[in-house]
């Protein structure tokens, strides 16, 4: 199955597609904290949008994964399923980086997620250079974009200039090389390469105003758990979970047992979020019983303790948690506020 970008309900989403006509030609998105608008009045480029509503996570790491069933007598049967075989078309470098993070979290451990492994192994990845970063993107700050450098079978850059509408494609794996060999096209020229570089430079420039220095963020968050900014952000945060569910690296799942009238229990892993009470529930109540502690857990884990755990940040700069936050909270702004008054001398007033 080819999963690619397409327009649905006024948004670029990743969904199964069967023809080029379904790609989001002319789509241009305007993204801002808590706001996404799409217009279809751009030029004929097919990939000139920024991060799609979701990453590839729903395909590699579905929101519900059945594991096993248990009879009332306690007999256990594992669910056997054939992992679907996907080709992902148009994977941006932020999302490639996110897949690499998931590989680290879910595969490079003592215990691996076999369902993820199965889906991951069979996926064919076609990356795309990001030509139109959105208003919430910051991959240059996280060092994860905008140009794909690894983790793909094929990587394309879409060009539209006096030389026409074309793609510069390079292979990143043997599988990719095989496919590339079958394509009709001409070898790329120095001019093409220069055009690709220009696309990349343009994207970098677009993100420049939002660029933040990530140095020291790990220590900043680790060392300021009682910063007044946490209360401030808690007054705005809805603890609705959207940020964690659109984040391409968030991996929390709950193990959900549902038992029917006859006593048969189905066990699945289901997306969970550190913004729910159930996430940290201990008999008697939640450890993270307030929005403050939940938000602090999310931000600290993503930008700080993730580095301790996995040697990499949990953030790849895709900006989804900013765009899709119904309260319009911008993680960069929060980091900035924490940084501006370390120790929490004078917290900023909410915007």
């Amino acid at each position: 199955t080819v999963i690619g970008p397409t327009v649905r309900d006024g948004v670029v989403v990743h969904a199964p597609i069967t023809s080029v006509a379904e790609l989001p030609a002319r789509a241009r998105d305007a993204q801002a904290p808590g706001r996404y608008r799409l217009s279809l009045d751009g030029d004929e480029r097919l990939f000139a949008y920024a991060a799609a509503a979701q990453s590839w996570k729903p395909f590699l790491f579905p929101s519900r994964q059945p594991l096993l069933s248990v009879s009332p007598e306690g007999a256990v049967t594992a669910v056997e399923d054939e992992p679907p075989s996907y080709a992902f078309l148009g994977v941006r470098s932020c999302d490639l980086a996110a897949v690499a993070v998931h590989d680290r979290v879910l595969l490079d451990r003592d215990v691996v997620d076999a369902h993820y492994a199965g889906r991951r192994r069979s996926a064919f990845v076609v990356a795309i250079t990001c030509s139109h970063p959105g208003g919430t993107c910051f991959c240059t700050s996280t060092g994860t974009g905008p140009h794909p450098t690894a983790g793909y079978d094929l990587a394309m850059t879409e060009l539209l200039d006096d030389d026409g509408h074309r793609f510069v494609v390079r292979a990143g794996s043997d599988d990719g090389a095989e496919v590339l060999a079958q394509l009709t096209g001409r070898p790329s020229t120095g001019a093409d390469t220069a055009a690709v570089d220009a696309v990349v430079a343009g994207s970098v420039a677009v993100m420049e105003p939002r660029a933040v220095d990530m140095d020291g963020v790990r220590e900043l968050l680790r060392d300021n758990p009682e910063h007044p900014r946490w209360d401030d952000v808690a007054s705005r945060c809805l603890s609705c979970t959207n940020c964690t569910l659109v984040c391409p690296t968030c991996f929390c799942v709950t193990v959900d047992d549902s038992t029917d009238l006859l006593g048969v229990t189905e066990r699945s892993t289901v997306w969970d979020s550190c913004f729910t009470a159930g996430h940290s529930y201990l008999h008697g109540g939640a450890v993270h019983d307030t929005t403050k502690t939940r938000y602090r857990q999310w931000l600290t884990h993503k930008f700080s303790s993730w580095i301790d755990q996995f040697g990499t940040s949990g953030c790849v700069g895709c900006g989804r948690c900013v765009t899709w936050c119904p309260a319009g909270i911008d993680v960069l702004e929060e980091l900035q506020a924490l940084r501006q008054s370390p120790g929490g001398a004078d917290a900023e007033v909410p915007s």
Partner: protein, 285 residues
Amino acid sequence: MPTSEALAPTALDAALLPRPFRVVATRDETADTATMWLEPSDGETLRFAAGQFTMIGVPGRGEVPISISGDPREPVLLQHTVRAVGDASGALARVAVGDVVLVRGPFGTGWDVQRAAGSDVLIVAGGIGLAPLRPALLDVLAERERYGRVALLVGTRMPDQLLFVDEVQEWRSRLDLEVLVTVDAAAPTWRGRVGLVTGLLPVADWDPAQAHAFVCGPEVMMRLTAEAVVHAGADPSRVRVSMERNMKCGVGLCGHCQLREHFVCTDGPVFDYDVLAPLMTVRGL
């Protein structure tokens, strides 16, 4: 040490696949706590290190982390001591002989009491915390000669909440083990000590300069005890505590048990106090 059998990666599915065990005996410890002995239906003995836990549950009634309270040298029957505080633990605490329970594990780090060889050993338990510490004490007693002075300090809320009453009585009668019990509150008929378990520290015979302490109980109790032990002069790296967090998988993949950078289920549950000290003082971390 049987702790790190998982050198080659196991699949999450396998880690989440429970094994049926049959209840072969039970004993009520207190009004809300029971001990059970379980026999693996597949006949394969569940070997463990003192301090490790399993994910265990009655079919259809959820699954919770419970420390193994048995003797690591006698693993043929799996022993657990469970306090009923909710649905899943309530169902477990009420199992009867013949019932089937589902078990995964063992998971997590152990007490690793051997590192105290040559030194004094202080074992401090609050309430149900005695269950996870019992295997640690048995480890010490099995090779008693390797250790210096050994003290078991137990605090419970009320006299009738003391676990393993007969065994504690037995331990009391040993000359090579100091056993001190205190309760938070009691009727006038109680002839023992009243007060917090930290109050036993000055009473017990141990040398802060070289003792190793192993502490388990409610989080505040662990923090106050560890602080007091350290205050008395013990090195924080020689104090071990067993943390409790919500756990869904037991293998570090579900994300629930995180305590800042630690996955309590795999990095813990037993930690060196110097690692945890800064984390235990921040509310709601």
